[in-house]
Each structure stands twice: as structure tokens, then as C-alpha cells.
């Protein structure tokens, strides 16, 4: 076998945004027919890099070589002409157009529709992807939408396919299918640049991997020759410190009781919740795992009171009170704290100051507001207390939320709820897109809260997080909650199967 030559070489590629250096002299190459991993934490500079490869950003410095020749990639059209295809993390699909129209949009040359339909069907058979060319995108599931994205790239016969965090929206089983497709693709000679922060995946699917940390290349390794532990170390830098140990809870006092929760889907895009039953004892952390889009946000809205109904819920008791028709601020008054997954525009408003963001969940607090007139001094004091107690680093006094880094803003948002010492706390994705330091801080704060006797529900996609925090875990799949298992009896394979909707009882029975 003759040595494979470099298809794409990145030579000293750098990108800065103002004073912030997102990519600092990136050097590595992708071989022909190779599946190459690009590994790094959120914010390590992976997305910036691939956007430059795809012509969406212009490098501040450095050069790309394509088959050994220096090239400029001024835009996606040109990238596609070179043979570079990209599947975006947030799909670039048009919901109210059909599959075939979406595909047509991505093709450089115009093909008559009947011919295109034929090509689509051929390609889908070749790679084992099936989608109906005439359905509207908005009627497809997330996994199917991704298949459309991939198909769309494949039709251009790419030489290099960039996949930006493709598995973040897939079940482990769907991921396996995706890997199969990628392997077939690599056999045909197409290279794949596979971007991920999941170590196992990178080890499983890639031949080589380049690890990025803070915009710099740490190393390029042969994936089979390193352990996940080594990869983690390169990705994170120093060893991640362990979080505080949780006290085994002894209490039998039930703080939260949910039964017969059935929420119908109110839009074509939402997931109905099907007969959910759950209870949480004092000092207990219940984890709810699952891929986004299986009812997590719907469940969270039920818990926060953003969605309420007496008819669709049999029991929703918290601290012994029936709160089915309680509004979010009535629930807050009872000592319930909650924090939805999305920072940007949900738990925080980006173009408001931190003080105003404090008001967001404190506007019914009698110290903050008298006869609906805001007491500014008290509000400012409370804000500075949160900033101080929860180690929020701010660039100036009372900045806009948008000027904080993700980790600091998340500490602020968590602090804003925890400073009230809630007796029950509902939280979704507490450390999504947050740096290691802040992650540790937040997880410790949650464990400490539980140790003080608070009952907590954590909804998370991050299995590692659930293994660290939760006493027991259930999986939410297509709006149904699986039987709850103590965390000690679970492993990621079992949870993974549940996340994909498999019945795992046979596993525990040893069949």
C-alpha cells in the first residue's frame, strides 16, 4: 500500500477576534481517506477552525494546502468546489422546504428534479440512509434531518467531509449508524474531519486525532495508541479534580411527588410527556438522562410552572402542596429554585445588566420590590452578594450579561438561585458549555445543597455529570421516563441503550 498523501494541510493557521486569539498557529494535516478527529473542549477553537476550512471565516494568518498546493477558500461555494463538504452542528436546513429542495440548494450545478430524485435514492441506498425526498424538513426527526445534511454533502462527491459535533444530537445507537456511514465513506477515499469533545467516540471512529486546547494544537496522535485518559489529559490540561463527596442521604421525607403527568404536544415540534411518575426525597439528587428533544424542555417547563395544567397532571406536590396551577413566582415563593438549560435568553437575558438579571427571578421578593416599585439599593446589594459568594468574575461593575464568559455567567445564574437556599431545586444542564473550573464549582455547589437537605432533580445529557451528582438515574426517551435505577447499578452502556429507547431489562437478567 502506497503511503497516503496529505489532502489538506493547515500551516500556521491563526484567527483572532479583536484581542482574543481563537486559533493560534494550527498545524496538522488530514490524509486521503482518513477519518481525522479534532478534539477539544467547548471554546477550544474547533468551530473557528472548521469555519475557516469551509470558507466562512478568513484566517488572520497562515495558509491551507490542498494536495500540496496553497489555496485560498474565500467562501463556502469555493470550498464546495474544492470538494469540501460540511455538516453543521446546527443544521443549515430550511424547515418549510422539502428534502429535495434542500438538497438542490446545496448543489452547485442544476440538475433536473426527476434526475436529482433518482440520484438521491441511489446515494441513500449506497450508504444505507433512507429519507423520502418529498417530505418537508420540519416533519423529520433530528436524526433524520442530520441524514439529509449528510446526504446533501455526499451528493457533491466530497473529498473532505467536515462533521461538527455530529453525535451531540444523536442516541448512542444512532451514533453507531452514523459511524458505519462514515466508515463506508472513508473506504471510498473520502477524508472525514470529525469534531467532537467525546473521547470514546474519537478513539472509536478516528485513525488519528488532533487535540486543541485554548486555540493551540496540543498534539496529533494515532487514536489506537492512546488511552482515553491520555486524551482527556491533553484536552483538559491538568487532571480534572474530583468533585466533593456526597453524603449518603438518610431522609425518607418526600419533598417532590409527581404522578400521572401527561403533557400533550402543543406544537408540531414538541414531544408529549407520557405518564411520568417521580418522587424526590430530602437530600436526594435524581438524575434524568436522555438526548435533547425527548421531552426534557417540556418536563422542565412543567417543573418550573412555565407550563401548567390541572387536567393533564394527576399529582404534582412539592413540600406537601399541590402546585399544579402555581405560577413560576408562586413556586419561587415556596422555596423552589429552578434553572433551565439555556443561559442565553432563558435563565439570563444577554443585553441586560447583572442587576436586571437578578431582578429576573427576584421581582416578587418583598425586599426588592414594594408595591411594585423597585428598591434599587437592595437589588444592587443582592447582586454583589451573588457575585462575591459564587466567584463570578466581571470585567466592570454591573456589566451586561453578554460580556461575561459562559462559565462566569453560569456561576451567576446558579448563584442567583442557590443564594436563596431553595428547599427543592430543579436544574437542567447545569454545566453545559462551561469550562472545567466553573463546572467543578457548580457541581460542588449542587452537592453541598443536597447535603443540606434539599431535594434536587438534575436533567442532563452529560452522563459523566449524572454519575458524579446523582443518587439514582432515569432516562427520558420520547416523553417516557424509564424505571429509576441507583447510580451504582448503572453503566454508560445501559443508560445509552435506554437513551435509544431499548428495553434493558434483559441486560440485567443477563440474557
Amino acid at each position: 500500500m502506497k503511503p497516503r498523501s496529505a489532502l489538506l494541510q493547515s500551516h500556521d493557521i491563526s484567527k483572532s477576534f479583536g484581542s482574543f486569539i481563537a486559533n493560534d498557529k494550527i498545524n496538522f494535516n488530514i490524509l486521503e481517506g482518513e477519518i481525522h478527529g479534532l478534539l477539544g473542549e467547548n471554546g477550544a477553537g474547533k468551530s473557528t477552525f472548521v469555519k475557516m476550512v469551509y470558507g466562512l471565516l478568513e484566517p488572520s494568518m497562515g495558509e491551507f494546502f490542498w494536495n500540496g498546493n496553497p489555496i485560498k477558500i474565500p467562501g463556502p461555494q469555493e470550498a464546495r468546489n474544492f470538494g469540501i463538504g460540511m455538516v453543521f452542528q446546527h443544521f443549515s436546513l430550511f424547515p418549510t422546504l422539502t428534502v429535495i429542495e434542500n438538497i438542490q440548494l446545496a448543489l452547485s450545478e442544476t440538475q433536473p428534479l426527476p434526475e436529482l430524485r433518482k440520484t438521491i435514492i441511489e446515494k441513500s441506498q449506497e450508504f444505507g440512509i433512507f429519507v423520502d425526498p418529498d417530505t418537508y424538513i420540519r416533519d423529520l426527526s433530528v436524526g433524520e434531518q442530520q441524514r439529509v445534511e449528510i446526504l446533501r454533502c455526499l451528493l457533491q462527491n466530497p473529498k473532505l467531509l467536515i462533521m461538527d459535533e455530529p453525535t451531540s444530537v444523536l442516541t448512542p445507537q444512532e451514533s453507531q449508524q452514523l459511524f458505519k456511514i462514515l466508515k463506508i465513506l472513508a473506504k471510498t477515499g473520502c477524508s472525514v474531519l470529525f469534531i467532537s469533545h467525546k473521547l470514546k467516540e474519537v478513539k472509536e471512529i478516528t485513525q488519528r486525532a488532533t487535540i486543541l486546547r485554548r486555540g493551540q494544537v496540543v498534539d496529533t496522535v494515532i487514536s489506537s495508541e492512546v488511552s482515553t485518559g491520555q486524551l482527556a489529559k491533553m484536552m483538559v490540561g491538568n487532571d480534572p479534580q474530583n468533585v466533593r463527596k456526597k453524603i449518603e442521604h438518610k431522609s425518607t421525607k418526600i419533598l417532590v411527588k409527581i404522578s400521572g403527568l401527561c403533557r400533550p404536544a402543543n406544537t408540531p415540534f414538541s414531544t408529549p410527556l407520557l405518564d411520568i411518575n417521580l418522587d424526590v426525597k430530602a437530600g436526594e439528587i435524581v438524575g434524568i438522562a436522555g438526548i435533547a428533544g425527548n421531552g426534557q424542555s417540556e418536563l422542565m417547563e412543567v417543573l418550573t410552572g412555565e407550563w401548567r395544567s390541572k387536567d393533564s397532571i394527576d399529582v404534582l406536590d412539592v413540600l406537601g402542596v399541590d402546585i399544579r396551577d402555581y405560577s413560576p413566582h408562586r413556586r419561587r415563593q415556596m422555596g423552589i429554585g429552578f434553572m433551565p438549560e439555556e443561559r442565553n435568553g432563558h435563565s439570563a437575558v444577554m443585553n441586560m445588566t447583572l442587576t436586571e438579571n437578578t431582578l429576573l427571578t427576584n421581582h416578587n421578593n418583598p425586599e426588592i420590590q414594594k408595591n411594585s416599585i423597585i428598591e434599587n439599593n437592595n437589588l444592587e446589594n443582592l447582586t454583589s452578594n451573588i457575585i462575591h459568594d459564587y466567584d463570578v468574575r466581571t470585567p466592570i461593575q454591573n456589566p451586561l450579561a453578554s460580556s461575561l464568559s459562559g462559565g462566569n455567567l453560569q456561576k451567576f445564574v446558579v448563584g442567583r438561585e442557590l443564594i436563596k437556599k431553595p428547599r427543592v431545586f430543579f436544574v437542567a444542564q447545569p454545566t453545559w458549555g462551561v469550562d472545567i473550573g466553573a463546572t467543578k464549582f457548580i457541581r460542588n455547589a449542587i452537592i453541598e445543597l443536597a447535603n443540606e437537605g434539599c431535594g434536587i432533580i438534575v436533567i442532563s445529557q452529560d452522563l459523566e455529570e449524572l454519575f458524579e451528582l446523582a443518587d439514582s438515574v432515569s432516562v427520558l426517551f420520547r416523553g417516557k421516563l424509564s424505571e429509576r435505577k441507583p447510580v451504582k447499578e448503572l453503566n454508560s452502556q445501559k443508560i445509552g441503550l435506554l437513551m435509544g429507547g431499548e428495553d434493558v431489562s434483559f441486560i440485567s437478567r443477563g440474557i
Binding site: S47, P74, P328, R330, G345, S347, M352, H363
Partner: protein
């Protein structure tokens, strides 16, 4: 070519200078237009901007002219802040006048001094009802409120037209489309300053208008209500998370702005006309949109903005009388002013980079 990038912090100077610069640029543009049309720009500008301010009674009339603009403008400020695009204030104003007029005309001989307050309440209800329809459609069915409120404006104006030509036409109007006069207790009187008497057409409605602006300014600045309005415009998810009810707030703001427009309509008729006629508004509902933007969505600044627009309107009259400049030139001024203001709005939010570049970050 140029492209825009989001500013992290808006320099304070921009907030103040945008309206001022817009006004100056509009005046410059005016000089240009007048020169092109062959009028002496100096004289024209004098009649436009100075003459209406040259006598105390003219200044008083300026306030009278600004009165409906201030009231409607305040309501629109609330809506626009909340990202609700009620552009049907014109229709809501008309319906307010119709509701109040209906009561006044049905009690031709009453001497009860509660008639006027009752008319005010009814006008608020009338305007509010006309705003209720786009609001409820937006909340329940996500129907585009811009289109619905606009369509309803035409319906309202046709409805008034039908009333004054048909069932409500005065038998003594010699066939003119006019209703009977309201009873005296249904009229808004001029302000009688002790020792001075009345000044121009200055009436108590102006007092109400100033009060409305200041009241809502206070509410926007200092109360949870104001926070609620800003928040709903910013992010609906954060709004629900915060515990407010989005649908209720949208409905409430729509109804308040419609109600205020209705109140303005009632004041306009009771203070200046004393009877209903086919044209009671002269586009106040649309002009108030300019007022709201000129005030940079601040209810206190609505007072100044309303006065300025009134100045352009009155200046148009005086320039027409003195120099025979067609009145339509006020429209040109108002349009240009709004253009400059909107461009200024962009400058405060975005940095303009004068370099040709195709590279943009499309997502993330």
C-alpha cells in the same frame, strides 16, 4: 461597501446625539429641498421652525397639536419596547372617538358633569377593544399583528364614515357628513389661566397628555411593570421563566396602547371639534409611530418628540400660507426624519465597518 458588527457597549454620547443629529440632518435636507424647489431656504426655515414659536398662543397651539401624538406615542412606546408591532393606532383612535361619541350623542340634553369622565372610560374601552382583536389573534394563533392591526385601521375608518353619513348624521347638517354637537358637559374646555384668560386653543386635554407621558415614564423606570415590558421585548423564554405570563402581558400592552389611542381620539373630538366627522384624525396614529421612535422609546421624551413633530406640522401650515409651499412637504420632512432616526438606531447598536468583506459568521 460596508458591513455591520454588534457593539458591546453603546457610547453614552450616541444615545443623546442620535435624535439631535437626525433633526439637524433633516434641516440640512430641508435647505436642500427648498433650494431645489426655488424657495428662499432662510425664509422657508423661518416659517417652518421659528414662526410657530414666535408667539405664546402659537406655542400653546403647538401643545394642542402635540396632544394626541403624545398620548398615542406613549402607548406605542410600550408596545414597541415589548416588540409588539401595533401599527393600527389610527383605527384604535377612531374607535375611541366613536365609543365616546356614541355616549355623548345619546344624551343630548344631559347636564351631568360625569359625562366627560364616562366618555374617557368608554374611549379607552373602544380603542382597547379594537386592539384586542390583533392581540388575541397574535397570542392564540400567532397571527401577524402588523397586518391585522393595519387592516383594522381601514375598517375603523370606514365604520366612522358610515356612521356620520348614515345613522348618526345630524338632521340639521344640510346633508354634510356631520353628527349633532355634543352636549356642553361632553366637551373639554380651554384652560382659563387666572388673570390671563385662555391662551390659544390650550385645553385640559394637553394636561392629561403630559400626565400620561410622565406616569408611564415613571412606570417604565421604577416599577416591575417597566421591567416586565423591557423583558418581554427581549426574550420570551426568560420572560416566562421570570414568572410573568406572556400572553397576558401582550394582551395588556396591546389594550393599553389601543386604549390610550382611543383616549386621544376622544380628547381630540371633545376639545377641538365638538361633533364627529369623517376625518377626525389626520394620520395621528401613524405619525405617532415617528414620535415613538424619535423619543427613542422613552415615554418622557415622547413629550419633546410630540412637540417637534407638531412643530413640523404647524410649520407646514405657516409656510404654506406665507410662501405657498405645498403642505405635503411636511410628509417629506417626517419621512426623512424617521429615516435618519432609524439609521441612528443602527449606529448605536452596530459598528459600521467600511471594508469590503464577504466573511461573516453566520451562526454560533
Amino acid at each position: 461597501m460596508f458591513y455591520l458588527t454588534l457593539r458591546k457597549e453603546t457610547p453614552f454620547i450616541f444615545r443623546v446625539s442620535v435624535p439631535i443629529a437626525s433633526i439637524l440632518l433633516t434641516i440640512l435636507f430641508g435647505i436642500f429641498i427648498f433650494s431645489v424647489l426655488g424657495y428662499d431656504p432662510g425664509k422657508a426655515l423661518y416659517h417652518f421652525f421659528i414662526s410657530p414659536l414666535s408667539r405664546i398662543d402659537r406655542i400653546a397651539d403647538l401643545f394642542v397639536k402635540a396632544c394626541p401624538l403624545m398620548i398615542v406615542g406613549t402607548g406605542l412606546v410600550l408596545c414597541f419596547r415589548a416588540n409588539i408591532w401595533n401599527i393600527g393606532a389610527e383605527g384604535q383612535l377612531i374607535m375611541g372617538a366613536v365609543f365616546a361619541g356614541g355616549l355623548a350623542l345619546s344624551l343630548p340634553d344631559t347636564l351631568n358633569i360625569w359625562l366627560l369622565p364616562a366618555m374617557a372610560v368608554l374611549s379607552f374601552i373602544g380603542g382597547g377593544l379594537w386592539a384586542f382583536l390583533p392581540a388575541v389573534l397574535k397570542v392564540r394563533l400567532r397571527t401577524n399583528e402588523i397586518l391585522v392591526s393595519l387592516m383594522l385601521t381601514y375598517v375603523a375608518s370606514l365604520f366612522l364614515d358610515w356612521l356620520v353619513r348614515g345613522p348618526w348624521r345630524s338632521p340639521t347638517s344640510f346633508g354634510f357628513p356631520l353628527t349633532n354637537y355634543y352636549p356642553d358637559v361632553g366637551l373639554i374646555s380651554k384652560i382659563d389661566f387666572p388673570g390671563i384668560g385662555t391662551i390659544g386653543q390650550l385645553h385640559w386635554g394637553v394636561f392629561i397628555a403630559l400626565l400620561v407621558c410622565l406616569l408611564f415614564w415613571f412606570m417604565m423606570q421604577k416599577t416591575v411593570f417597566g421591567f416586565q415590558v423591557k423583558l418581554v421585548g427581549d426574550s420570551d423564554k426568560a420572560f416566562r421563566y421570570s414568572g410573568f405570563n406572556e400572553s397576558k402581558t401582550t394582551m395588556m400592552l396591546f389594550i393599553i396602547s389601543g386604549g390610550l389611542a382611543g383616549l386621544a381620539g376622544m380628547i381630540e373630538v371633545s376639545a377641538n371639534m365638538g361633533q364627529l366627522q369623517p376625518n377626525i384624525s389626520f394620520g395621528y396614529g401613524f405619525t405617532a409611530i415617528i414620535v415613538a421612535f424619535l423619543a427613542r422609546l422613552n415615554p418622557a421624551a415622547v413629550i419633546l418628540a410630540g412637540l417637534l413633530i407638531a412643530l413640523i406640522e404647524m410649520g407646514g401650515d405657516s409656510a404654506q400660507i406665507a410662501l405657498a409651499i405645498p403642505k405635503v412637504v411636511t410628509g417629506v420632512f417626517k419621512g426623512i426624519l424617521l429615516f435618519f432616526l432609524l439609521a441612528g438606531e443602527t449606529l448605536t447598536k452596530y459598528q459600521i465597518n467600511f471594508k469590503y468583506s464577504k466573511r461573516r459568521v453566520p451562526y454560533d
